[in-house]
Amino acid sequence: MVLNDGNIYYGQMTASISHDINNVLAIVNELAGLQSDLLYALEDGGDIDPQRFAKAAEDIQKQVQRGKAIINRLNRLAHSVDDPISEFDLMTVLVDTVEIAQRLAAIRGVKLNCNQDNQLTVNSNRFIVQQGVFACLAIAYSSLNAGSAVNIDSGIYEAVVEIRMTSDSPGNAENLGDRLLVLSRMIDIIKGKVEQVMLGGDQLSLVLSFPHHITALTG
């Protein structure tokens, strides 16, 4: 069951990444096509603007870098299942997950702001941690109205990692129970838990917490 729950989010994440890669390919396709157009115009006796040609080449290189960053993210996600427990940097996981979820949140008109800027070494199951963060973000952005934002903060408090996802506007907390239950089951394997905290003004806050250092998975 834990694997099935995790796989749902894994599927959503890889679908989002493949969409991003496809967009990069589509842009490179048009830029290469633009260069061909310019060369055909030259063959037909027209002039070629060297700056325009060079700009297209420069833009292709930028898209290749963008594609490389996306593929690195995909690679880290794929390797998150390599070891049951490993030492990893939580900041990298948070930044990657927010980048992956950003497009899906944007479709709903919600912005994700990751405020994590320090390395935070954690010893746990990287796959479950990343799926847990993604699940919380998915629950948060789908409970908010367009124009809202979710702020993501994290820290360690008495050997427990806390990742707090807080909306800047009221959220619809109805029907969250089932989704949080599924998530709780998934993160139980790393002795984690998720709590829904209602703040003043009906702001939605989800707190994902798990031990900073574990030596074995439960179950």
Binding site: H19, N23, I27, D59
Partner: protein, 143 residues
């Protein structure tokens, strides 16, 4: 022959910028809308021959945009130009009245063919409407 007017609706600005340059080099008049809301505003102000529409966009997704566009302007020709992962939605879009479907990255020749097909269909439809009006007038006059 009047210049074909195209509206590109996609939130990937880098994509629409280059594609619009390539279409303009082929004699088309191209406008860009970065989301569905903007597209709906723009079709109120201009008479586009064809809309090239992405499915996954912020604010209003492509399917909702298509539905609203068809409600506003049932005569509009909308061709989907979207990512591979959206095939299921593509089928849904065809049911909602999209004229055709293309996967990104698409060949410029294929895009031009779809645009020309849409323009031809629009001309045939316009001709049919004129013909029907003439028949109606002739009928009322008893000729």
């Amino acid at each position: 022959m009047t210049q074909t007017k195209v509206l590109l609706v996609d939130d990937e600005i880098d994509f629409t910028k280059v594609l619009s340059q390539r279409l303009e080099a082929r004699g088309l008049d191209v406008d860009i809308a970065e989301n569905g809301v903007r597209a709906l505003e723009m079709v109120q102000q201009d008479n586009y021959d064809i809309i090239l529409l992405d499915l996954r966009m912020p604010e209003m997704d492509g399917l909702e945009t298509l539905k609203r566009l068809r409600e506003e302007r049932p005569d509009l020709h909308v061709v989907l130009l979207t990512g591979q992962g959206d095939l299921k939605s593509g089928v849904e879009a065809m049911k909602l009245g999209a004229t055709d479907f293309m996967e990104k990255p698409a060949d410029i020749k294929e895009i031009m063919e779809k645009i020309n097909d849409a323009k031809t269909q629009k001309a045939i439809l316009a001709e049919k409407i004129v013909e029907e009006s003439i028949q109606q007038i002739l009928g009322t006059k008893g000729w």
